[in-house]
């Protein structure tokens, strides 16, 4: 092979692998990305049932009901609008009424989120950043209330 052919074969192979990777990335982007919505956004936009979503807000006081087999229901609120959430499993240690929470799952036709993941903050002083932003949008956030921080499963 000449130098030119060798170079072409190298460029061809690189181009091929990159194209495959690009195709993989684009298809994965379509199927596996989850959007974050605040309760108010859900109230405004009415996402279709079966959509995978991540929602955040505060666990509404007095809304937590625990059933058999670790079933738990609660309401996530940003102060303006509410979203009922249902989950089966163990909620994080810092899951409490009146505290920030992030839940991920599918929306039912009735507008309940069937969550498969529930995240709470990982430190008493912190609040999930998404929750802070959602509360700010709803105008229910006082500066200095807590610092944005991370989440814990």
């Amino acid at each position: 092979m000449t130098r030119k052919q060798r170079r072409l074969s190298l460029i061809g192979a690189s181009g091929f692998v990159l194209a495959v990777a690009l195709a993989l990335v684009l298809s994965a982007m379509r199927d596996s990305i989850v959007f974050f919505r605040s309760p108010s956004e859900i109230a405004e936009q009415h996402p279709a049932a079966g959509t995978r979503l991540r929602i955040g807000g505060l666990v509404k006081s007095g809304s937590v009901t625990r059933g058999e087999n670790l079933n738990i229901s609660f309401v996530v609120t940003d102060g303006k609008n509410d979203v009922p959430v249902h989950y089966q499993g163990i909620v994080p240690d810092l899951f409490r009424e009146g505290q920030g929470v992030v839940a991920e799952g599918k929306l039912t036709a009735e507008g309940t989120l069937l969550a498969d993941t529930v995240l709470a903050k990982h430190d008493e002083r912190y609040m999930p950043r998404e929750v802070v932003d959602a509360l700010k949008k709803a105008g229910r956030w006082q500066e200095g209330e807590a610092t944005p921080g991370g989440t814990q499963r």
């Binding site: 092979m1 199927d31 499993g89 008493e124 932003d133 610092t147 814990q152 499963r153």
Partner: protein
Amino acid sequence: MIPELGHYALVLALALGLVQSVAPVIGARRRDGTLMRLANSTALMQFVFVALSFAALAACYVTSDFSVLTVYENSHSQMPLIYKFTSVWGNHEGSMLLWVLILALFGALVAAFGNNLPATLKALVLAVQSWIASAFYLFILLTSNPFLRLAPAPFEGRDLNPILQDPGLAIHPPLLYLGYVGFSIAFSFAIAALIEGRIDAAWARWVRPWTLTAWMFLTLGIAMGSYWAYYTLGWGGFWFWDPVENASLMPWLAGTALLHSAVVMEKRNALKIWTILLAILTFSLSLIGTFLVRSGVLTSVHSFANDPRRGIFILAILVLFIGGGLMLFAARASVLKQGGLFAPVSREGALVLNNLFLTTACLTVLTGTLYPLALEALTGAKITVGGPFFNLTFGPLMMALMFAIPFGPLLAWKRGDLLGAAQRLMAAFGVGLAAVAAVFALEGGNSVLAPFGVGLAFYVMAGALVDLVERTGLFRLPLATVRTRAAGLPRSAWGSAIAHFGIALSMLGIISAATWGAERIVEVKPSQTVSLSGYDLTFEGLRQSRGPNYSALVGTFTVRKGNSIIGVMQPSKRSFATRSMTTNEAALMIRGAGQLYLSLGDSNDDGSTAIRLYYKPMVMLIWLGAVVMMLGGALSLSDRRLRVGAPKPAAKSALAPAE
């Protein structure tokens, strides 16, 4: 007094760093040996002063000097001594000090052991190293001073984040930083070569041991972080595709590519420009990782309290070094002489393929990590890119790479014989196919991908053995000849075979734990028995216990297999009053290469408690594989060729300027 001394030592280190940033460059220009040699002393002294500064901070932590702000915020007088010490880097300021400590250490190592480097190259490498160090000294002194005082001094500290009160904190960050920061040496060598406009095979021989060292630590650091997350987060996951984890995976991928391309450069004097670019990119990814974790762009356990000024400062450092490095590369790369030629089917070709897959895989991880940040900055939309995305993109690329791995070592340099290699790999194909068939038969076709994944892993392991068998002539030659051949085989050949075996082990563990893991999340009452995967766990009850700075709720479970008791598992929940936080201490029981994993959930007043119980078959292989990879790297590092003080080629020593 001690904090002020520590602060002052850091300022002195900065002063030395500034001198070292300039003097050796001038020395290299004027061929002035005195100026160039100055860098040796300053590099060593920089390390001494940063070490003093670090020791001062450590002293503040160990003696619980709460008049120092970071100690007050991250320590507590009742913490065990080990955590008092590790909390030095359990916060932003201290962890940056650890970062520069390791940076200075690497600089000092080059100064001390780089005696066979050409004087100008060594001077320039140390200068570039010092540019990086000075930038980070400035960062610490201006935005993250760990020695700030509080007046009046509080009586008690606010405690270390309980999640970090774990032996993992003693191991994971230092290892990870040794890896991250170790790549700075490759970067400095690349920049120095670009400035000099000269690069040859010897350059790769100097760069490779440093890269290999960094790579080994990074491998172990990532594995340790994964294990820590696994046992501490309470739900048995070992990799979360969290941006912070990706931040450490990306330099690893690029660094692995660099290791392989440096081999081509060293052996065949080819791929020079690409190797230089990879060296720049690898450290750039380390810097991006530091930025992502330390700037507060991301939210995770790793991001401590944030200050926007810091983010901008690190971003500036990032732009300066990555942008500067790439611009220098663009301007000077054409000056470097083109390397040798090779056929696409050859050892070089295989290594190029390896680089292609690794860098592309790295690119997909980068895309998945940065896309949500970019989208939020541009449109305000918040998205999560999690496991599914990476499984669909990174996964297939890695599978393709795994398939190619055994071919590489069996192809000859310059012009390889693909068919011949495939024939010699017949045994490995056989092992792989047998594994696929066996898994299918055992499993009854529940999952399609997993048997092929297991087959692939076995094929790569068998391929690594085939490589050794071929090289030593085992089964073909008389045993005595095999022994001499095995003894004569370069350690790097053993090293690469072992490392390839290790990655396959990890892969096997990942597939097995992800596919055949079993879980039960239930509520149990005292003396109730829960069964999972042939194990019966009887809940004996909960009791309170006290630790040095926490109170704990401990559950006791008797584990039976069949009718015999095989042990007791005691998962607990620790409550830390100072931060009103609880942590989950999962109980682990090792069964072969698998593990039983038990963690506590909420408990009720009647003495019942929720539990998470997992059985994870072969899960230990994930981390064992990483240790094997590291051992392969260590063996390769001990190769005579790479050892410090190895005899240098005659031509080079003749050219080295007289000192």
